[in-house]
Amino acid sequence: MNIPTYKTEPLKCWNKAKELRNEFYKNYANAHENGGIRWAGGAWSFGAIPMGLGNDVYPLTGEPYGASIAFNKEFSLRCLEATEKKGYARDLCSYMRSYWGSIILDEFLFGGKFPKPDFMWQDHICCSHSKWYQVASELEGGIPTYSIDVAVGPYNEVTDSLIDYIVSQMHDGIEWLKKITGREYDDEKLIDAVYNECRTTSLWAEICVLNKTKPAPLDEKSMYSLYVLGTLEKHSKKVGDFYAEVLDEMKYRVENQIAATKHEVVRLISDTQPPWGFLNVFRYLENFGAVSVGSLYTFGLIGIWEDKPDGTWGARTTPQQKGIKIETRDQALRILADWNLSKPEWQHFYSPHQKSEMMIRIAKEWDLQGIMLHYNRGCEGLSVGIAENRLALIDAGYPVMTFEGNMRDEREFDSAKTMSRIDSFMETLGLKII
């Protein structure tokens, strides 16, 4: 087999990504020092809305925080065991259990006591979402909590009444925010945050589109460190500006044939969250000349997409790109609701068959030779329907490998067995260790 060899170089944006991430957690922890506000909620919550309360409003998004705990194995285990001691089952969302454990132990991953939020602001699409913060509030002794139900069906069936339902909850949410914080609400700040969110999430999709190139400029493991910023503060101008820089760098890499990995013989995607404590799985693939160029998860957890005029899948055109001027609170909220409802990773909640179609589309447009499915015990929300996805991908002619594990609970991930399964999968793809 002909093994191509490409030039590679480290990402220039790497250090800035780390700085932004560290700054995010520091801002949250230190928010009160200058009279600021801190809130906790999911990565998918409408973070643009609390921005109307002022420039000193800092979130802690639960899933990335839970994922980060994976990198401190000792703390991770203590968090999970603390939650189990409180009576919560081991098969619950492992991000949630890690987060709760941090509260129960009153220890913040980044040092010091767990910074108690002033309020909780959540959205709800998977069974656990609102219950996560219902319990978190109880564990913290009672913190005002608000959640917006967004489980209104797939985007291709959205009607005005569905958008009205979400927007009505948002309007009520703003009144609730004003009441519990005692602050006035600035619609201009909301509008800016909505523009920023649209820009950030569209830019991320543009970055992912460039991975259609051969060789791919980015590998999925590296993408995890970049997409995460969109899960922290997708509504922030800083993250949008950073993604614009990343896009420029990726364009440079594409023009100069700079690859993510030295040998790109076979292109794959994965699915669901990775096992955060075992990202070496992706480096192991490189030994065979295999590279994961992304996933519906990496592309569509934050990225917002649309069908382009040429029939391909690409970044959704933002309101600002369409020349839409947002002038009122209601208009901003409607755009925010509609934008998020089109999120690829919100569609499979209603039909795994829609997800299968998207994955097959990615396989075609990104020219893949195989798919690795993480049967992730730690997340019922993203694993829902995964068995049907497997069947559909096989029917569509793609080699599929599955591995069972847990994105956050390392006790449920068998590294040796997974590597052995990868060995077999590589063999079926005709690959040997280079």
Binding site: D91, L92, S130, K131, Q134, S147, D149, F349, V384, E388
Partner: protein, 376 residues
């Protein structure tokens, strides 16, 4: 006295096929008790709840990842095995992620003439959920009209509401007997009556219920029940052998909070001569919540405590289908509240089959503990 209900429950498929032959009507299978059966009855359709068969199986493994609850996999298995081949339609009203997979796999692999997914809201505590659900129920009504080829009039909808309301009211009446010191109906018998309610034409069920209630009013008893008064609560539960076991070792199940029991029939449609579909929507929003919808305030806890008090339950057996996230999220808060109110709990994890021998030992110990509390 309850043999007819037991027969319906045991031979649900034969019943439905016979009903189709007798009436020439259509049968729609549904998952989850948020489906507006009022509209189906208005359309002269027989709604039947899809439940599992409590047999170990492997046909659903390629379709649903094993970490999802055994109930949803058991339900799908019934479809894949052809046991529900007589269904003309299949539908779901959105509740938990687990059961929804049974629906989405079913429509692909066992397609029916009619299928429908109602995006039932989860924020039932928001005032906006009623107008939203009203709009969704109107859309559903339109889809049904298109399928059956006729419009549903106000009279039809009213008829559907009356059919459901009368049946639910009678179930309340039946359950009221269980408040007696020695309930004339056992927990297992009540469960069989509740299960059959979800499998047969409500009008026939109502007729049988009226006879039973008349007999009970006259002092007849279906069975003698003097055991320690127990409440069963938790995930979907139609495991009658388990209830019989509990009642064979000194317990009497007097009330429940699960979706084959009171959560299914607890409240009625209140039609105040307003918009009928809105009245139906209001009923489904306001009914005792599935845990997947019980947020941000906990309404299940006060409801369960009220039930326990009303039925004088001395202890509660908390049943959870394995891997059932929504219930797992509620169990610590519920058991804490029950304990604070003097009601001990026993937690048991269920699968399609349960280890009756091991569970018997635990239940016996639990009942002994409750009986000692009574002594002292």
């Amino acid at each position: 006295m309850i043999s007819e209900f037991q027969e319906w429950s045991k031979n649900r498929h034969i019943y439905a096929k016979n009903w189709k032959e007798r009436t020439g009507g259509k049968v729609v299978g549904y998952f989850c008790t948020y489906v507006p059966e009022e509209i189906l009855y208005a359309a002269d359709i027989l709604p039947v709840r899809i439940l599992g068969s409590h047999e170990p199986q492997d046909v659903s493994e390629p379709h649903i990842f094993g970490m999802f609850c055994p109930f949803c996999r058991d339900c799908l298995a019934q479809g894949l095995k052809g046991r529900y081949d007589y269904l003309d339609g299949i539908m779901i009203s959105q509740s938990c992620l687990h059961i929804r997979q049974a629906y989405t796999s079913w429509i692909k692999h066992v397609p029916r003439d009619f299928s429908y997914y109602i995006p039932m809201p989860n924020n039932v505590q928001s005032k906006h959920s009623i107008p939203y659900l009203t709009a969704e129920f109107n859309q559903f009504k339109t889809a049904v009209e298109k399928w059956i080829g006729r419009e549903l009039t106000s009279n039809d909808i009213n008829r559907g509401i009356e059919i459901m309301n009368e049946n639910r009211a009678l179930m309340h009446r039946l359950y009221s007997f269980r408040k007696n010191g020695e309930p004339p109906v056992s927990g297992a018998e009540a469960m069989e009556i509740a299960m059959s309610q979800q499998m047969v034409d409500k009008r026939e069920h109502t007729s049988a219920l009226k006879k039973l209630i008349q007999n009970l009013d006259g002092g007849a008893v279906a069975s003698t029940n003097k055991g320690t008064r127990i409440m069963i609560l938790g995930s979907e539960d139609d495991d009658t052998p388990f209830i019989r076991m509990v009642e064979s070792v000194g317990g009497t199940v007097v009330v429940d909070d699960h979706c084959v029991g009171t959560r299914y029939f607890w409240n009625n449609v209140e039609n105040n001569n307003g918009d009928l579909v809105e009245s139906i929507a209001k009923r489904y929003i306001e009914r005792p919540a599935c845990p997947s919808k019980d947020w941000i305030d906990r309404t299940r806890v006060p409801h369960i405590l009220a039930l326990a008090k009303e039925f004088d339950a001395k202890g509660a057996i908390v049943i959870q289908q394995k891997f059932c996230d929504p219930h797992e999220l509620d169990i610590p808060a519920i058991t804490k509240a029950l304990k604070e109110n003097g009601i001990s709990t026993l937690f048991l994890e269920f699968d399609v089959t349960v280890p009756l021998g091991q569970f018997k030992i635990r239940v016996e110990a639990f009942l002994e503990m409750l009986q000692e509390d009574d002594l002292f």
